[in-house]
């Protein structure tokens, strides 16, 4: 056996009989999972306290990487894919999307939001209930920034806690659906679901 063959084999083989397995971790500062739901692919993440920090629509792996980079930067770089840590959140989403639940019983944390976005999203969560709708202008007035409806729209678009913080309930002044992070079809689905199952 000459050196080149030995070198090549050292490169491409390794000792051991069971297949190599990835490492396991009991918990993480940020645990996440990406899951397909009836309204689209969603990345769920929770922090070390168990509070939900993200439920974001991620159409593809690149979109998921953007969310994961933000979590690493703004919460902790110790981000791990730990599906079981998100079981409770996923169960509640499943119930919500099936019309069997109209509010979430989850600790949440708007760590990914700016102070302005927090203001908008917290006001929305506190004032617009299941089956109700609000306009961008109405929400701008509710935060005492009556001329800021565009900024309000941008804040809703950045909502890190889609569906839990119900930005889908905010529509255009004349009843148009306007935009939605998960696409207008998802918004229509959610509003339809809520009008069918509320009251």
């Amino acid at each position: 056996m000459n050196d080149t063959i030995v070198e090549q084999r050292l490169h491409t083989t390794y000792p051991g009989s069971p297949p190599l397995r990835p490492p396991t971790f009991p918990s993480a500062d940020v645990a996440y999972v990406v899951e397909d739901t009836p309204v689209g692919r969603i990345l769920f993440a929770r922090n070390g306290n168990g509070a939900l920090v993200a439920s974001r629509y991620v159409a593809d792996d690149e979109a998921a990487d953007v969310v994961l980079d933000r979590l690493a930067h703004m919460v902790s770089p110790r981000v791990l894919r730990l599906p079981t840590a998100l079981d409770e959140a996923r169960r509640q989403f499943e119930e919500f999307l099936a019309g069997r639940r109209n509010d979430f019983d989850l600790e949440t944390d708007l760590a990914l939001a700016t102070p302005f976005q927090r203001d908008v999203l917290e006001t929305l969560a506190q004032t617009v209930g299941y089956g109700e709708r609000e306009t961008y202008g109405g929400l701008a007035r509710a935060i005492h920034r009556p001329t800021a409806s565009r900024a309000v729209g941008a804040a809703l678009g950045a909502n890190p806690l889609c569906i839990v913080v119900p930005c889908h309930r905010v529509v255009g002044a004349h009843g148009s659906l306007a935009g939605y992070a998960g696409g207008v079809a998802a918004k229509e689905y959610l509003l339809g679901l809520e009008s069918d199952t509320s009251g």
Binding site: T13, L20, R21, A72, R78, T108, D109
Partner: protein, 178 residues
């Protein structure tokens, strides 16, 4: 849920000011290399424990890193250190040389997770395990870890020239023991 929105302020940004990628990205990119290196250094039986221990240590230390450069090298360094710690704690008998069961444990590894070009070579790795300790470490770091001689020299506490020498002597021994 509404009042809970602000009740759990998350830990604020790290103090090191480095933009570290999500740890899972390191795991996905490097778990095979860490696992191979651990098995090559500590043997097929202890190797998997060494790899797991290395990942646990890496996870603990990760937020304190002051640079996001060469994270693979950082992981392999931790793996090497864990293997050497085990080696020392076992009174320098960590690497099995005559244990038939261990050497025979070099068999089918093409699990669903393994990349197809990684094969098993029972004979070769048995001979690697019987190399003198420094040669074995240098050969493994060079060909499994893909590290260059300056990096190997640092891990072995020697010079790049000596690292080159150890690798070439190791290859010579492997060739002659074939």
């Amino acid at each position: 849920m509404l009042e809970a929105l602000d009740s759990h302020p998350s830990p604020r940004r790290r103090s090191t000011g480095v933009n570290l990628p999500p740890f899972q990205r390191l795991v996905d990119a490097h778990w095979r290399d860490v696992g191979r290196l651990a098995r090559a250094l500590a043997g097929p039986v202890d190797g998997d424990d060494v790899a797991q221990q290395a990942w646990t240590q890496a996870y603990a230390a990760y937020p304190g890193l002051t640079s996001a450069q060469n994270l693979r090298g950082w992981l392999l360094t931790i793996t090497h250190r864990c293997a050497m710690d085990l080696h020392r704690s076992r009174g320098r008998r960590a690497v099995p040389t005559d244990d038939e069961a261990v050497l025979a444990g070099v068999a089918a590894v093409d699990g669903p997770e393994m990349s197809p070009h990684l094969l098993v070579d029972e004979d070769l790795w048995g001979r690697v395990a019987r190399l003198p300790e420094r040669q074995r470490e240098a050969v493994v770091l060079k060909y499994v870890g893909d590290l260059d001689h300056p990096a190997i020299a640092e891990l072995l506490g020697t010079t790049p020239t000596m690292s080159r020498r150890l690798v070439s002597d190791g290859l010579k021994n492997l060739r002659e023991s074939a």
